[in-house]
């Protein structure tokens, strides 16, 4: 019997997609979408890119108010889930009005991540970039000329740095790892972006950890000092797994789910940034922070709930990052220990024991799309196959 009440915890792009896909799959039971933030669900990726430049908050809204009426999705903004009672199949809510309980037949955890706050003194002097409210604050900060320090050389920090530099600010980026975006891209691609950011005039401090922030700037672990009137903390995220842990679900770097995206409780699924799932290619447990994973997970979960069964998760991961005029696209996912081969300028292939694992491209949509197809499940591609596909 298919469940008649689905409750989705988290109203980011993945949580909303679960609601959209449930209706598209013909699910006619009750859907409740619970979000901690006020307002309608919105896209986060532009917050570190286009929104900082154009300030168009309305363009970020994922679906209009009318969607929730016409599709009969009960949306509860500004509402937190305090506890999951698995025995009673209820969530305890705290939001506008009084605290209450809500029953579920199936629960979808789409709780996402929150910003990591490393042990750095004086972090109250640093701003975060996660929510629309954060981004609005950053936009204000960018209105007047400033010296800006960014703690963290990952996607978010570098996207922000590129925007700030374009607007004419003095920008410094400090990254504790010896290279940029070390978790996400190959050393060769790190070097490409290191050279590009330096050419824009961004001061990069690699292999240097920030140890203190104050009103005048940032202190580094080698004793150096970066003077700044504005500091952004962009040191990565951690998955929001507290609810799942407190409820006794299996968690490790996220809520653990199987290839059907079910947690250790068959009445609870998890998706997107908060879920640790088996990579379809390698079988290794991975947690991806991307729109693609969030929405593809959501579609599978919705189909499974609506139809009672579905094939195992098999989507090819893809990622993007816009840094100035450098459009980075990644097809596939390479774990630690992958080897790399620079195929051409701005085109790097990464390999593991199973062959081609990921392809990174800059301003090369064509190669990116070819790679996505090459990496589709069931195949095992090598360098020759990649070169052939790109040449075709």
């Amino acid at each position: 019997m298919s469940p008649s009440r689905v409750v989705i915890v988290g109203a980011g792009q993945g949580g909303l997609q679960a609601a959209i896909s449930l209706r598209q799959s013909g699910f006619d039971g009750a859907i409740t979408l619970i979000g901690a933030e006020p307002g309608l669900p919105y896209q986060r990726p532009p917050l570190s890119k286009a929104y900082l430049l154009d300030g168009k908050a309305e363009a970020l809204t994922l679906r209009p108010e009318s969607f929730f009426e016409s599709k009969q999705v009960a949306y509860l903004p500004d509402t937190r889930v305090l506890e999951i009672d698995r025995q009673a199949q209820e969530v305890h809510l705290d939001g506008p009005g009084e605290a209450r309980r809500m029953g579920y037949d199936h629960l979808v955890l789409a709780t996402g991540t929150r910003n990591l706050r490393p042990p750095i003194d004086g972090l109250e002097h640093a701003c975060d970039l996660r929510t629309l409210a954060d981004a609005a604050r950053l936009r204000e900060a960018l209105a007047a000329p400033r010296r800006i320090a960014v703690i963290g050389g990952g996607f978010i920090g570098l996207e922000f740095a590129a925007v700030a530099r374009k607007l004419g600010h003095d920008v410094s980026v400090m990254e504790a790892a010896p290279r940029l975006m070390a978790r996400a891209v190959s050393p060769a691609m790190s070097r490409h972006f290191e050279a590009w950011h330096r050419a824009q005039g961004v001061a990069l401090h690699l292999g240097r950890a920030a140890i203190g922030v104050d009103a005048g700037g940032v202190s580094l672990d080698d004793g150096a000092r970066v003077e700044a009137d504005f500091v952004l903390l962009a040191a990565g995220v951690r998955p929001n797994t507290e609810l799942a842990e407190a409820a006794g679900l299996e968690t490790e770097n996220g809520v653990c789910v199987n290839a059907q995206l079910l947690s250790s409780d068959p009445a609870i699924s998890a998706l997107g940034d908060c879920a640790s799932f088996p990579d379809p290619r390698s079988g290794a447990m991975v947690r991806l922070e991307s729109v693609q994973a969030a929405t593809d997970h959501a579609r599978l979960i919705a189909a499974r709930i609506a139809k009672g069964a579905c094939p195992d998760y098999a989507a090819v991961p893809w990622f993007w990052s816009d840094q100035g005029d450098q459009k980075l696209q990644i097809a596939g996912f390479a774990g630690p220990g992958a080897t790399e081969e620079v195929v051409a300028d701005g085109l790097v292939a990464r390999f593991d024991a199973g062959g081609l694992a990921a392809v990174e491209t800059v301003n090369n949509a064509r190669a990116h799309m070819k790679a996505r197809r090459l990496l589709a499940p069931g195949g095992s591609a090598d360098l020759a196959a990649l070169k052939e596909a790109i040449a075709a």
């Binding site: 896209q43 532009p46 209009p64 929405t295 579609r299 990116h368 799309m369 070819k370």
Partner: protein, 107 residues
């Protein structure tokens, strides 16, 4: 305001009005038009806002760019000479009355 008609794969028409400067993708999503996904939000990183420009409007919407062409390779439905990524068509007064047809699938 600029009027746009979306013709679904089954022939159902939805007419909406959007502000100048909005993309055909944004206008669809913010008016809750089924059949346009726009997963990447208009960054030309996915191919889920695929549409076919009506013959009568082809000249006015212009040609697709090389990058757009490459991304369309990943579209779920057949790509024709009139295929566009709707995030790349920005509405201006010359497009008032625009008609686009939607593919059967976007994913």
């Amino acid at each position: 305001m600029i009027r746009v008609t979306y013709v679904a794969h089954d022939g159902a028409e939805t007419v909406i009005e959007a502000e100048e400067g909005t993309s055909v993708m944004q206008a669809a999503v913010s008016n809750d038009v089924d059949g346009i996904v726009g997963e990447c939000g208009g960054s030309m990183m996915c191919a889920t806002c695929h549409c076919y420009v009506d013959e009568a409007w082809e000249a006015k919407t212009g040609q697709r760019s090389d990058d757009e062409d490459e991304m369309l390779e990943g579209a779920a439905s057949e790509v024709t000479g009139r295929s566009r990524l709707s995030c790349q068509i920005k509405l201006d007064p010359s497009l008032d009355g625009l008609v686009v047809h939607l593919p059967e699938e976007q994913l």
